[in-house]
């Protein structure tokens, strides 16, 4: 459960990051086209909202505290990636997606 909350939060901030043209270029090598920036931002807000809702639903007020901590961790991680190797961003993205799927499955089954 905690994993799903954290990964959703991380995914949200990854979205926020690539919604910035500079970071988008660092990751994909091209400038973002059309209104992809807007779409990314909206999707990220949805993810972030989902993460918070999940934290609140499973842990109540305590969960909101954890959620704030997760935001800190997520941004720190992304800062570290952009400062060192922006190319790891894609790998991280796949890892996060797999992680989210696995933890959702775990949640449904148990």
């Amino acid at each position: 459960m905690e994993w799903l909350t954290f990964l959703l939060c991380l995914l949200a901030f990854m979205g926020f990051a690539v919604a910035k043209p500079n970071h988008y270029k660092e990751v994909f090598g091209t400038r973002p086209k059309g209104n992809i920036t807007n779409q990314l931002t909206i999707a990220s807000w949805l993810c972030l909202g989902g993460s918070l809702a999940l934290a609140l639903k499973t842990q109540g007020a305590y969960g909101s505290l954890e959620f704030i901590g997760y935001m800190t961790l997520a941004v720190l991680l992304l800062v570290a990636i952009f400062a060192t190797k922006p190319s790891y961003f894609r790998s991280l993205f796949y890892l996060v997606i797999i992680g989210i799927l696995l933890s959702t499955l775990y949640w449904i089954i148990f």
């Binding site: 970071h23 007020a61 901590g69 941004v75 952009f82």
Partner: protein, 527 residues
């Protein structure tokens, strides 16, 4: 005063921050360490290392045995108090205070740490302040009157709050370059580091600063209380209804109705385990039993508590069992600040955020000095102010970690039977810090930073070794026996040492590049 609101806020941010940054660094540093207060205390007390994880299904048994022990050793005490073992503090703490002698306000107090299962005294218990030192340090400072210290801390915290708010105002593009950290670009990197460490934990910084003030609010703002309360006594009585003394009857108490009270407690407290038991005037028929619940993850600071008559076991009062909105708000803020509710995961998150706070203050202070240095032209001599700031930066930022390590060394190396041992540990802390600051007053250039980074790396790196040589445990045995707190402590020490090594390497690298200070500064400007 300046041309625009934005400019004046920038000015305010700089000066308000600089004025109190070293004190704030100390407060943040010690406060961050005190998130692991009980863990540090556990490490500092090797006698408790082998206590098994406490099984809370045993608590009924533990309470009864403790009371029996009190009846043996102190039947006529003023009060008995049992602090139950918790996840974080494996030993059982029994305390009692004697009846005050003629003309004294308080009786003599005794306390003993015991094995919670056998109730035997722990062998080789050493006198140490452990994690409590850092906890007290972050609001009482040391070697000074506690109330004065708290006023100073409050003042610094108010400035911190102002610095935070003005910081948010001037950072117009808070989300624009949220993930931006430009490595190895001189002043630009310091600014980025300052921004990142502030923004990533901004909710934490604001929360911890604000709630920190709330913890001392009754001292900081005594006047509101005087409006509708006659005096502090009435206020105390209303805030802590259990404090009201029950007049003694003079009749001896035949037996303590502990079972009735415990039964009532366990049926009414939900699943909350006991945290504390206090029995007042245990020899008299007027005796009361107070049971305090461990609030666990509830965002509430004062524990829910129940008070019973010791003679009959009937419920007299409850406190904090149902809270009003205001009590929830106030207690919730204190709970957020102290983080006692945090289980390991959240505790680590608190710790990371606290470190970000330390980094924020440190980078801010360093940046101020760097910026001024860069403005120096040609052969200008740096002024006294700049020199002082640079020295204090080095002395505080690099001195405090080293001082903390020396505190731990003193804990392990001082003989256990030494008189005033706990004070000597504290002395080791302050002497180290003092030495660093004094040395920094003479020399605070890159070489001095490099040297302090190396010293820090060595002392932190050797800490697990010294621990291995002076106790019967080590990194491997902790891992095998699943003593995670101690394992974590050693890993932490090594991690800190590696951190300082990385810093030393970076400082060394830049020095190796042949560049006169001026050319280097120019390069930084260009970059």
């Amino acid at each position: 005063m300046r041309e625009s609101f934005f400019r004046s806020m920038t000015w305010l941010h700089t000066w308000v921050g600089l004025l109190v940054c070293w004190l704030l660094f100390l407060i943040f540093f010690a406060g961050t360490a005190s998130f692991f207060r009980h863990e540090i205390s556990l490490w500092a007390q090797p006698a408790t290392h082998h206590l098994p994880h406490y099984d809370s299904t045993q608590q009924n048994e533990t309470v009864k045995k403790s009371i029996e022990r009190f009846q043996d050793i102190a039947p006529n005490a003023e009060s008995w108090r049992v602090e139950m073992p918790t996840e974080r503090r494996p030993s059982l703490l029994l305390m009692y205070s004697e009846k005050p002698a003629e003309g004294e306000r308080r009786g003599k107090r005794h306390s003993e740490y015991l094995d919670p299962v056998t109730l035997e005294a722990l062998p080789e218990f050493r006198e140490t302040r452990g994690g409590n030192f850092f906890y007290r340090l972050h609001f009482d400072l040391h070697y000074m009157n506690a109330i004065t210290a708290r006023w100073i801390v409050c003042f610094a915290t108010l400035f911190m709050l102002i610095a935070l708010i003005s910081g948010v105002v001037i950072h117009k593009r808070i989300f624009k370059d949220l993930f931006q950290f430009r490595n190895g670009k001189g002043l630009r990197s310091w600014l980025d580091a300052h921004n990142v460490s502030s923004v990533v934990a901004l909710p934490f910084h604001i929360m911890i600063t604000y709630t920190g003030l709330v913890t001392l609010i009754f001292m900081l703002l005594p006047q509101p209380a005087e409006q509708r309360f006659e005096d502090t006594k009435t206020l105390r009585a209303e805030r802590y209804p259990f404090l009201a003394a029950t007049p003694e009857t003079g009749q001896p108490l035949k037996s303590i109705a502990l079972d009735t009270a415990l039964d009532h407690y366990f049926t009414n407290s939900g699943d909350a385990p006991l945290r504390r038991i206090v029995i007042s005037s245990p020899g008299d028929a007027s005796a009361t039993i107070k049971l305090y619940a461990n609030a666990q993850r509830a965002v509430q600071d004062d524990p829910p508590s129940w008070m019973y008559s010791a003679a009959s076991g009937e419920l007299l009062k409850t406190h904090n069992v149902t809270l009003s909105g205001a009590e929830n708000l106030y207690g919730g803020m204190i709970a957020l600040h102290t983080g006692r509710l945090a289980e390991p995961l959240l505790r680590w998150l608190y710790f990371v955020a606290g470190l970000a706070g330390c980094a924020m203050i440190a980078t801010g202070a360093v940046m101020w000095a760097k910026r001024l240095r860069q403005k120096l032209k040609g052969d200008d001599k740096p002024g006294v102010g700049l020199r002082l700031v640079e020295s204090l930066n080095l002395g505080t930022i690099m001195g405090l970690p080293a001082a903390t390590a020396m505190f731990f060394y003193a804990n392990r190396l001082l003989p256990t039977e030494l008189v005033g041992r706990a004070d000597k540990e504290v002395l080791a802390f302050f002497v180290t810090w003092g030495v660093f600051t004094l040395a920094a007053l003479f020399k605070s250039d890159r070489l001095a930073w490099l040297l302090s980074a190396k010293v820090n790396a060595i002392v932190w790196g050797l800490l697990p070794v010294v621990n291995m040589l002076t106790t019967d445990g080590n990194l491997v045995s902790y891992l095998i026996n699943g003593q995670w707190v101690l394992f974590g402590f050693d890993v932490m020490a090594i991690g800190i040492a590696i951190g300082f090594l990385v810093q030393a390497k970076k400082l060394g690298n830049t020095k190796a590049a042949p560049a006169t200070p001026r050319r280097q500064a120019k390069r930084e400007v260009n970059a």
